[in-house]
Each structure stands twice: as C-alpha cells, then as structure tokens.
C-alpha cells in the first residue's frame, strides 16, 4: 500500500517536472545582469546543492529504514538509544558545512554594501503607488506609473505580453556604469526590487537608504514593489532601460528639452476646458486608484469626490487638501509630486465632473502663488 502510494506520488512529481520543460515554467532565479546578481545566483546554486546532498543522504537512510525496519517484514526492534560519538559528529559536521557556506556569502554582502564612488546617482521616491526618479541634474525628474490599462486588469481586454510589468516612464541608465540609488518614501514603506541586478532595498518614509548596481548588458528589465504598501501594491512595477552611453546621452538631452517645454507650458494661460481635459489625465494617473474613475470612492475607506463637501465647497479648501493631503489617512500631499499646472488642472477637473458643477476653475498661477 505504502510503496504503491510512494510510486504514485513519484509519478505526479515526474509529470510536473516534464511540463516544467515548457518555457513559461521558470524554475530558477532570473538571468543575472550584474556581478552581484551573478554571485547571488551562484551562491544560491551552491547552497541548493549542499542541501540536496544532505537531503539525499539523510532521506536515503530514512527510506531504507521505512522499507526494511518494519514490523510487517518481521523486523525486531533494537534497543539502542544513545551514542555520544554520533551526537557530537552530527553537531560538528553541519557546523563546518555552515562555515564553508558563510565564507562566500560574507564576500558578496561586503560588495553589496559598497555604495560610495558611483558614476551617477538617482534619487528614487516611492509614493502610493508610483515611483519618482530624480536625476538631480538639469531638473530631470519624473514619475513612473503602471501603464497597463484597467480594462486588461478587469479582464475586459486581452492582456499584453508585459501585463502589470510595464510603466509610462522607465528609469533609464547607461550600461556598465555604477548607478547609486538614494531611496526614500513619501507615505508608507515600499521596496525597490530589480531581480536581474540583485537589488532589493526598502524605501522608508523619513529616512534615506542607498543601494547600487552596475548593469552588464543593455535591455529592458522588470521588477515590482516588494513591500506591502496598500491596495495598489501589486500595481507599481519597476522598469529599467539600460542603454549604451550614446543612446543614454541622447535620451538625457530629450529629457532636458521636455523640462524646458514644461516650464513654458506652466506660464501659459489656459481656458477652463483645457484645464479640465488635462486634469482628467492627471486624475487617472494619480487619484483614480483610490477615488475611482467615477469619483465615488470606496465606501468606508475612501471618501467620494462626487458631491463631496470639499469638491463642491470653496476652492481654497479644495486646493489645500490636494496640496497638503490629510495627515493620518491615505490622502497624500501632492504639492511635491505634481506641477502647478497638474494641480490646477486636476482640481478644475474634480470641481466640474460627475455631479459637480462648480463652474469655477483654478489657474496654475494661483498654485504658484501659494507655493511661496
């Protein structure tokens, strides 16, 4: 009965491993793209094989015993129950094996903490539920938000190849350069994780943490936030594009141009309709996750904007809430996250959408004045 069942279980396991030949069934860590990630990969393989060997030795003994030392085959119980020599042996031998494993692990850990002297530094700020990358040079600084459409998540449209692992603006870095990341968070703890580089570092509100990587090859690499940060936790991926130096420089120039044109836009005069149109895009990217596209919020946790006191009352209070948030709740202070134009347009949108018909609008200059 027993051996038959063991064979059956074995058969199931074999069946599983044969389907595992399919490419979708990835069995191991992602292909490393940095020295650290390669070391981690090798370290994992080393420990895995040590464990497999110990497992096979110990469980061969166990299974031999299960088959031979059973009453049904007439085996009589021995009476030994102690052996100091054996006890010492199997305390000391594992200890030595552990020391052998600790040695390469220590070497890698020392390298992982070697953050000084980078070729470039990017400041990463985590928000519920997006990332901000600040190159700290020429004003290049932008948000990186999930770009998978909601319809795909809700199963109303077929899913793309990179479903949930795609963003509007990826982090772009040059290949072969030591990139240092300074991480902080605005609201709750998040974690910036990029398996191909062997990086995972929590972003903690109120503290700056650092980590580094040096990508070996160009390409697009994907990771996800790795610390529970609320309901959008599964929807804030991290994408890094590694370019060669020339392409990177070209990309950086484009970013500088964008910064300049954004500055010009902020000074322009806008009509209420233009603001409302822009505001809808800002709302979708920043507000809809909580307050919902229909402005109804989530009863019990997230207040509705449709017909709310703030969105239909005096606009000063509305501006204040958007810019400074509401402490102790999920409502963030957006003053630091959004530009004058974005804040003005999203408030205009909120005051003139769904059942709200305030009829007034907020100009970017009003926000600019408040920032002083």
């Amino acid at each position: 009965m027993m051996s038959k069942l063991i064979r059956m279980v074995g058969g199931v396991m074999l069946g599983l491993s044969s389907v595992a030949a399919n490419a979708a069934y990835q069995l191991n860590l992602q292909t490393p793209n940095s020295t650290i990630a390669t070391q981690i990969y090798n370290l994992h393989m080393l420990i895995l094989w040590v464990c497999v060997v110990i497992f096979v030795v110990v469980f061969s003994a166990l299974f031999y015993s299960l088959l031979k030392h059973r009453k049904s085959v007439g085996h009589k119980a021995a009476h030994f129950h102690e052996s100091t020599t054996v006890e010492i042996a199997w305390t000391v031998i594992p200890f030595i094996i552990l020391i052998v494993m600790a040695f390469p692990a220590t070497k890698t850990m020392i390298q992982m903490r070697d953050t000084p002297n980078p070729d470039m530094t990017v400041k990463v700020t985590a928000y519920q539920w997006k990332w901000e990358y600040d190159y700290q040079k020429d004003g290049v600084k932008y948000m990186s938000v999930l770009s998978t459409p909601q319809d795909q998540i809700d199963n109303k449209a077929p899913k793309d190849e990179h479903y949930l692992l795609e963003v509007d603006n990826p982090l772009v870095v040059p290949v072969g350069k030591k990139v240092r990341l300074l991480l902080q968070a605005n609201d709750v703890i998040h974690s910036w994780s990029m398996p191909a580089f062997g990086v995972k570092q929590d972003a903690i509100p109120g503290f700056i943490k650092d980590t580094w990587f040096r990508a070996d090859r160009t390409g697009t690499y994907r990771g996800q936030c790795s610390e529970l940060c609320g309901k959008g936790h599964g929807f804030m991926p991290i994408v890094v594009e590694v370019k060669d130096q020339a392409d990177y420089d070209k990309w950086f120039e484009e970013q500088k141009t964008k910064v300049a044109s954004a500055a010009a836009d902020a000074g322009k005069e806008y009509t209420a309709d233009e603001l409302k149109a822009k505001g809808e895009a800002v709302f979708t990217a920043n507000c809809a996750a909580c307050h919902q596209a229909n402005g109804k919020g989530i009863p019990g946790t997230i207040p509705a904007l449709d017909g709310s006191k703030i969105a239909t009352g005096p606009k000063d209070a509305h501006i204040n809430r958007v810019m400074n948030g509401k402490p102790g709740t999920a409502m963030a202070a957006f003053a630091a996250q959004l530009s004058d134009l974005e804040i003005a347009s999203v408030i205009t949108y909120e005051r003139n959408s769904w059942g709200n018909h305030d009829g007034d609008f907020v100009a970017p200059s009003e926000i600019k004045a408040l920032r002083k």
Binding site: V19, Q26, I40, R70, K76, S191, P195, G230, G234, I298
Partner: protein, 528 residues
C-alpha cells in the same frame, strides 16, 4: 481510595459539575478546557482556511476575478492572523491541557480557574477579528505583521485587530504560566526532569518563550494604537520616531513566535515516532538540549526578517551567522528522529504517517530557511512567494501535520473511540499530496520573482499559480474530510482499549483507561 484513584471514577466525577452549556462555561477541568481549545482552534482553522481558498481562487488566473485589491489584502492579513493566533497556537494549548497533567501524573492543571479564563478570552478575540470584516472599510489590510505607517492608515478594524492581539496575548501568557507552574510543581513522585516525556519538555520551554515575547508584542501594538489615536510618533520619522523600530520590536516577538508554533510540534513527533518504531527515542537528553538551544537562539536572530531595510553591514553579518547556527540544533532533531526509526519495528498507522510526512516536509522547510538565512540570496527572495512556500512548509507540513498526527494518536485516549484507520490514512494522503501541489510550485514562483501579497500577477507566473490553486483546493477540501473522520470516530468508532498502541510508554497509556476518566491521578502514580 487507592482503587478509585485511577479506575471507575467516572460516574462519581460527573455528579459535581453543571451539565449542558454551563458545564463548558464554568468548567475548571483540564480535559474539558483542552477539548474546548481544540474545537475552537479547529473552527478558526476552517475560517482561516476559507480565506485561503478565496485567496487561491483569486490567484487561479491573472486579472481580477472575485475580489478587489483592497479586499484581497484583508484576506491575506486575516488569514495570517487567524491561522497563527486562532488556529495553531490554541491547538497546541489544547494538547498541553489534555496531555501535560496526564503525562506527568498530575490530577489537573495547577491553576484551574485561570485556565478557564485563558480559554474564554479566545472566543472574544476571535469574534473581534471576524467581526472586523463587517465594519466600515473592512478588516485590517496591512498584513499580519502590521507594519506602520501602512497600519496607521485604515479604519476601525485596525483597532479591533490591536485589541484582539492584546486579548490573545493575555490568554497566552496566562496559559503559559499555568503550564510552567503545573510542570514545576505537580509532577508525580519519581518523575524527575529528565524522565519527563519530550512533549512536556517542549511545552515547558515554549511556555517560557510565550511569557517572554507576548508582552513585547502587546507593548508594540499599544504603541501602534497611540500612534493612531493619541498623537504619539513612535513609528513616524516626522515626530522623531522610526518605522523600522516597529519591525525590530515585532520580529523580536515574531521570531520566537515561529518556535512557539514548532517546538510543541517537535514534542508531539517525539512521542509518536518511538511508539510506532517500538524503540525508545534516540538521544533523549540531546533532544532536550537541542530544544533549549533553539529557544535561546530564537531571541538572537530576529532581524533576518528585515534584510531589505538596509542594515549596517556588521549587523547584517551577525544576523546571518546567528541564523545559520539554528540549523545545527534543528539538524540534531531530524537526525535523532531518523535514528529512532533506524532498526526499529515500524508500523504505519495514521499518526506515524503524519510524523514521517512531518520529518520529510519540515526538513524541506528547514533547508529553504537555510537558503533564506544567506542575506544576499534573501535579498532576491525577500517578500516573494519563496518565503510563502518556506513558512507554509514549516507551519503547515510542520506544525499542522504534527497537530493532525497528535489528534489521531491521542483521540482513542480522549474519546475512548478508535478512528477508522483507512479514513485516517486517506486524510493523510489527500493532505500530503494537496499540500505539495499547493506549495512546492511557489518556490519556483518566488525564485522567478513573484512578490507575495499581490492580488494579480504577470503572465509568466500563470501556470504555477494555477497548479498551486488546484493543490490548495484539494488540501482545503481534505480538512472537511478530517472533520468527518473525527466525528465519525467519536460517534461510531470502535471502543478503544486502554493501550491501543503497542509501543506507547507514557503514563496516560500505561495507567489510565480509555477514555481517560474525568478526574485522573487523584492519587499520584509513583514513577520508578
């Protein structure tokens, strides 16, 4: 008197307590209280299990099908809290209540009224947790680890969770003090420390762990509460606090907690294996020392749960080395169990199947623990499904399998009825196969980089998630079957002899009839 001390005391005993519902409310009998603990924990196990079924249903395929993301987070949070505090811990206290007095030859627990209160606090906490699903905003959704600042956000359910944790903590502390006092003072004459059954030893050590760390947890969640409502900033950098400090405090409780949930399991396994191998436990003394070493080391390794927060290098190195060290006493235990079986005369009744399954699968969980101890590898695996697989291998096929094994082992003594061996074995194989299908593929998901606690995932993770969900449904259904097996045994099982197992040698088997009388060992047996 001598004659009635151990036999035929039944009818006499029943005269002295109320019957019906009030019997259970007012009881101070360790067997009644043990029974209530076990049924309560099984009820919570089914509640926590239903939440797990919803989680696996949502994760059956990519996209959102059944629950919204905020509800998904409530499910994972409450699944963790209910299983840890409501199912596993009370189940072991139930075992302690039934078995510790009988195994040391004591008439009851040392503090029977305290015992009653420790139990009756539990349903209150359980109701608070379950009721929190129905308050505005739904249940707690910040993870069972309750990390701030996320846990500072959120509604009244978080306060209910904090109060529930307080109540559960008080219950655990009182239960533990009772166990410590009972073992220290009420052993039968001749029952020296090193003659105590290993189950009693493991609970003695576990009780100390509980008394040491539950107050830490209570203090920590109280700080959360004052941060939420009374303007303190223990965990907020804006007021001079530190969110990471919460994690240090939580895991100072949390890591010993892991051993609180596994040491009594070690004890149960150490009773079952010698019985069915018909051979004394190999290395009894080293088992006791290994248990104590694991308990002491468990206080010194907490920050290995936090390698990704960015600790200083020296701190990280220390926690890696200390964590690896735990592998040594844990290994000793596994080697001792295998040596106990070696050259025995084994039979494979259901308790033994669960014990062998435990050794095999718990060892896999131990090995993945070793992999996770290595900080650089942990950086890749932290907060992925690899960790989920790891702790389910030690908590489900570890703690839970030991509980199942223990229930089958002692059910004849508790109820006086034998379970059906073929049904019991079916339950084992269904659980074993279902469990492995559910959790083994999660190792691969974690290695490939799938984060835990997400309601939806990238397409590359779809296949293993589907397999995992199918296994989970099988495992879940098997536990309803377990309920049937137990009820069937109690209702219509064959009458159990005083000593149904050939190789058992502890007092409850050698000195008491089945079922054990309501009052046992009124006169202490003498151990030679």
């Amino acid at each position: 008197m001598q004659a009635t001390a151990t036999h035929g005391h039944d009818d006499h005993g029943h005269d002295h307590h109320p019957s019906g519902f009030m019997r259970w409310v007012t009881t101070t009998n360790h067997k009644d209280i043990g029974t209530m603990y076990l049924w309560f924990s099984f009820a919570m196990f089914l509640v926590g299990g239903s939440l797990a079924m919803l989680i696996r249903a949502e994760l059956f395929q990519p996209g959102l099908q059944f629950v919204r993301p905020e509800v998904f987070n409530q499910l994972t949070t409450m699944h963790g809290l209910i299983m840890v505090f409501g199912a596993i811990m009370p189940a072991f206290v139930g075992f302690a209540n039934w078995q510790v007095p009988m195994m040391i030859g004591a008439p009851d627990m040392a503090l029977p009224r305290l015992n009653n209160w420790s139990f009756w606090l539990l349903p209150v906490a359980g109701c608070l947790l379950i009721a929190s699903f129905f308050v505005p905003g739904g249940a707690s959704a910040g993870g069972w680890t309750m990390y701030p600042p996320l846990f500072i956000q959120g509604g009244i359910s978080n306060d209910m969770t904090i109060f529930a944790v307080h109540i559960l903590g008080i219950s655990s502390i009182m239960g533990s003090i009772n166990i410590i006092v009972t073992i220290m003072n009420m052993r039968a004459p001749g029952m020296t420390w090193m003659k105590m059954p290993l189950f009693v030893w493991t609970w003695f050590i576990t009780a100390y762990l509980l008394v040491a760390v539950m107050p830490v947890l209570a203090g920590t969640v109280t700080m959360l509460l004052t941060d939420r409502h009374f303007g303190t900033h223990f965990f907020s950098a804006a007021g001079g606090g530190d969110p990471v400090m919460f994690q240090h405090l939580f895991w100072f409780f949390g890591h010993p907690e892991v051993y609180i949930m596994i040491l009594p399991a070690f004890g149960i396994i150490s009773q079952i294996i010698p019985t069915f191998a018909r051979k004394p436990l190999f290395g009894y003394a080293s088992m006791v020392y290994a248990t104590a070493s694991i308990a002491i080391l468990s206080f010194t390794v907490w920050a290995h749960h936090m390698f990704a927060v960015g600790m200083p290098l020296v701190g990280q190195l220390y926690f890696v080395y200390a964590t690896m060290l735990i592998a040594v006493p844990t290994g000793v235990k596994v080697f001792n169990w295998v040596s106990t079986m070696w050259r025995g005369s084994m039979t494979f009744e259901t308790p033994m199947l669960f014990a062998v399954g435990f050794i095999w699968l718990f060892t896999i969980g131990g090995f993945t623990g070793l992999v996770l101890a290595i900080a650089p590898v942990d950086i890749q695996l932290q907060d992925t499904y690899y960790v989920v697989a790891h702790f389910h291998y030690v908590l489900v096929s570890g703690a839970l399998f030991a509980i199942f094994g223990g229930v089958y082992y002692w059910l004849p003594k508790w109820s006086g009825k034998m379970y059906s061996e073929s049904l019991g074995k079916t339950h084992f194989w269904l659980s074993f196969v279902g469990f492995n299908i559910a959790f083994f593929p999660q190792h691969f998901l974690g290695l490939a980089g799938m984060p835990r606690r997400i309601p939806d995932y990238a397409l590359q993770f779809a296949d293993f998630n589907r397999i995992s969900s199918i296994g989970a449904f099988l495992f879940g259904a098997s536990q309803l079957f377990f309920l049937y097996v137990v009820i069937n045994a109690i209702r219509s099982g064959e009458k159990a002899p005083a000593m149904p197992w050939e190789g058992a040698d502890t007092l409850e088997w050698t000195h008491l009839p089945s079922p054990a009388p309501y009052h046992s060992f009124d006169t202490a047996p003498v151990i030679k």
